[in-house]
Structures are given as C-alpha cells and as structure tokens.
C-alpha cells in the first residue's frame, strides 16, 4: 500500500480458481538483472478495464485466466470487466462487460469458464492495493515476485483483498467502451509481425509457410509464451549466442514450431526469431485458447506505430 493513499480490505476470495494474478503495467528497469517484465498479457483489455473503472494508467487489476474464481464484495464497489467473456455473473445475473458497473456489498461475483477469449481483467475503482516489489505489484509466481503478498503467491480461499480508497465520490469519464473497441476473441486473428534480423536465414519454403499457415495454438501456452503448431520451419541457424528477447518475439527452436514470447518470458534466449509481434498483436494472442488458429502478417513499423500510439494516448492521458 502506497503512502499517498489509504487502502482497506473490500473483497473476499470465496473460491480461488486456477489462476488469478494481480497485474499493474509490469516491472521495468530491472530486465538486465534477469527479472522478467510481467504485467497484463492482454494490455489492451487491461487498459480498458482500468479506464472504465475510472482509474489512471498503470493501476493494478486482477487478470483472471480461464475462470473458476468467486469473489464477494465487503462494501459497494465501482468495477469494470474487460477482455475475455468468462461467463461472469453477479448474484447469478450476467455482468455486462466493457462498462462500469456497481458491485454491491455481499454480492458474489463469479467467473465461470471461457465463452470468448481466455483472460478477463477486473478493475476496481481505486485499484487493488499491494506493496510493490522492485517497483511493481505484477505477480510472477516463477520469480516469487509481486502479487498481494509480494512473493508471487496464488490467491487462496478466504484471502481478503485491499482496495485503495478512490478520490472523489463518483468515478469520472467514459462508462462504456464503444462497440468497435469491444473484442470478440472467437474470431481467428491475423497477428502483425515485424520481421527481425534472422528472417533471411529461414528457407524460402519456410517463409512461405510462416505467413500462409493458419497456426494452431498448442496447449503448451502460458504467460511465458504460446507455442504454435503447423508445418516445420527450417532455419539455417540452429541457435544464437543468448541475447535479450523483447515482448512478442517469435522464436523457432529446432523442432520448427514457433513460440511467441509473452510477458513472463525469460529475459535472454538463443533461438533464431522470425521477428516480433506488435504489442497489440501480442495482447490479442494472449486471448487465444488452445486449438484456436492464428495467422502472421509481416508489417513495417509505420502503421503499427501509429496504431499503438493512438491506443496508448487514449489511456495514458489520464494520469494520477
């Protein structure tokens, strides 16, 4: 809990579910120490959830993967849920997504199972409160960093979660995302890939395959990376001397099956890469369930940069 803001427990965990992680923007300035960045796997939906809940950019939200989570409010709360449709209900009534709603004291909020997408973001006005570790509350269990206890622990039944007391009586700003901003994650996405230095080392056939295949998301997919199944890609370089890997890097190990690296990836690695997904395409991939199909399209940085800046500028204007 920060010194500037009061925080009080306001939510009780009734059932913890498989994976619900506290995520602020992530842990930065420490990657040279081998510390991964963490943060929301779907930055896009996380940003919307916070914005609609009346929170400034960077506020900590709960990233709920797959569902199975049940929470009870201990006082009235303004919330917004964006991202995956996990069949969320408030006292058995469906909760509208991508808009601000009131969660009344005593009501049970249930995230059931995926209808569309994989990860939902629950933002509470004021933001979840936890002690930052190395500048962030982002929960990375593998590194034992962040989360509500600071040690990357998973939620447990009976946990009581603290919320910063928001300023002012009511939340301000937009209460509903426009229709075009709401994503239906059931559609097979085309992911923008900025080609990297080793792209010329893949065989012509493999380059054709890379951009003309509907790749299937493997069940080996988590916050470190998403493995894709399809034709075997061949690269003239087997491995590199380990080097830093950026978010969205698409590496191809010896088995020829690409892995797109997400927020909790290791900081360095030595497989040749096709390139890196745009940040918003990495977000989109994070919503794909195993078995879903994705395609890559090669892009230069121009339009991708304009799109990403437009996205960030909408949300980053509101600062605490």
């Amino acid at each position: 809990m920060t010194a500037q803001s009061k925080a009080e427990t306001a939510i009780r965990v009734h059932r913890a579910g498989p994976l619900a992680l506290l995520q602020d923007r992530g842990r930065f300035g420490v990657r040279h120490l081998g510390v991964t960045q963490g943060g929301p796997a779907d930055l896009y939906s996380w940003a919307w959830a916070n914005y609609l809940a009346g929170n400034p950019w960077g506020t900590a939200s709960l990233e709920i993967t797959f569902g199975g989570l049940q929470l009870i409010a201990e006082r009235d709360l303004d919330i917004a849920i964006a991202g995956a449709d996990l069949g969320a209900t408030l006292d058995e009534q469906p909760v509208p997504l991508w808009q601000r709603v009131t969660w009344k004291e005593g009501q049970k909020l249930i995230f059931a199972s995926p209808v569309s997408g994989l990860r939902a973001y629950l933002s509470v006005r004021g933001g979840f409160a936890a002690e930052p570790v190395m500048g962030s509350v982002a929960c990375v269990s593998r590194e034992q960093l962040g989360g509500f206890d600071g040690w990357g622990s998973k939620l447990a039944e009976g946990d009581r979660l603290a919320i910063h007391t928001p300023e002012g009586k009511t939340a301000e700003g937009m209460t509903e995302a426009p229709g075009h901003a709401r994503k239906d994650f059931r559609e097979a996405p085309v992911l923008e890939l900025l080609p990297g230095a080793q792209i010329g080392e893949f065989t012509g056939r493999s380059l054709y395959d890379a951009f003309n295949t509907w790749w299937r998301v493997d069940d080996r997919a988590d916050r470190m990376g998403v493995r894709l199944l399809g034709p075997k890609l061949q690269c003239r370089i087997g491995s590199l001397i380990s080097e830093g890997i950026n978010l969205g890097g698409v590496q191809v190990p010896a088995d020829g099956q690409p892995i797109a690296l997400l927020n909790d990836r290791q900081t360095i690695g030595g497989y040749p890469r096709l390139g890196a997904l745009s940040p918003l395409s990495a977000s989109r991939l994070a919503q794909c369930l195993p078995g879903q199909e994705v395609k890559f399209v090669a892009r230069g940085s121009g339009q991708v940069l304009r799109d990403y800046r437009a996205f960030l500028e909408l949300f980053r204007l509101r600062r605490s």
Partner: protein
Amino acid sequence: MTGSPANALPRLESAGLDGWMVRLFEQIDEANLPWITALARHCESAFADALVDLVPSYTTLLVVFDPVRLSPAEARQTIAGLLADLKPDEDLGTGQVHELPTFYDPSVGPDLGRVAEHTGMTVEQVIDCHSSKTYRVFALGFAPGFAFMGLIDPRLECPRLDTPRKKVPVGSVAIAARQTAAYPTATPGGWNLLGRTSARLFDREREGFSLLRVGDEVRFVSVSREEFERQGGDATPMEAAG
C-alpha cells in the same frame, strides 16, 4: 549477406516496435564486455526518460524504449550516434571483484564425481581448477540474479545433464560447457553441480537487488563446511534438499 557491408559490426537489428538489438560482436569474449557496458551507460544518459530497459548479453545490447516518445527511426539514430564515438569502459560492471565462499563437496555438489570422470581429473583437481580462475559475468538471465560467467578452463568443459533436475537448491555452484554460475533461487536446472556458495546472490531488499552485474569479476573461494555454515550457508545435502 556474409561479407557485405550490410553485415558489418556493430549493427542495429529490429527487435520489435520498441526495441533495437545492437549487435557488437560475433563471438563470446571477455574483451567484449567493456564495449557493451560502455554503450549501456551512454544509452542511459542519451535516452533518459524514454528508456524502458537495457539487456546486455555476451555479444549484444537490447535497447527497449518508450515508443510514444521515440519512433524506431529516432531511437536508431540516437544509438548510431553513440556507437560512432564509443570507447570501452575501463571499470567494468560495479568494478568489484566478488569472492563467493564456496563449499565444494559431493553432498551439495553431486556432479563433482561425474565431472571428474568426464574430464579425467580427480575431484580435488576439479575443485582447484574451478576455484583458481577469476571469471567475468557475461549476462544475467534465466532467473533474477542468475549470472552466466566464464570462461572456465577448457579441461573442465562438461555437457549439461541429459535430464534437468526439477529443483536445484539456492546457492548451488555449477558448470556447463565453458560457463559457470551460481543459482540465486531454487529453480529447475540442468547444469553440473560442484558445490554451494553462502553468498546472497539476489536480495529484493538490497540496493541494486543483484550481487552480480554484467562485467563484474567473480572468484569462487573454497571454504570448509564450518566456514560455509558460519557465513550463513545451508549445507543440507542434495537428497534431503530435494
């Protein structure tokens, strides 16, 4: 492209919308490090608030910047300017030589026998060989504070385990190929374990968090079980430590 001017070093390679990979060298060499640490330092001042992260490694520096403040072209231009005047650092890393007290013993270094057999040395010779050299930190990665160091004596070269261990205890000192490392936290690992250090390699409460930084010098100092425990080491044998 080999041999063409486009392939000359150093070169800048796209690492996505908000990153440039600066490739300075082709091969692993301790002499690379003063150039990489110097470039990292210059990037810190040149990018200032627009810098997000710097990831130095054996032959490269990954520069991650804020794409709202800088376009990839602008970031590239800044880095190219720094490269034009680059001079190697004289003081590397934190400029210190770290001495890591290490208890070399089969109870905490269960691969001493395997390494001895593979290299044709005795266990004592393996220990002498590993502890007689000063190493450089080439990169941090794999886990917070995990430092890849080298190069170890070529006679000690030994491949990784075929099957990684599910849990390597904190402080384990290990080798693989021409490199050595110490595990800052209990993680899975496939390196050959020679012993255990009592040094606290990663501490979230400490300024700077990691004991070791890229460019630092490191010596492993052989100590007795008593000295290891006196310095706070946990000598629980591998089997018991799981």
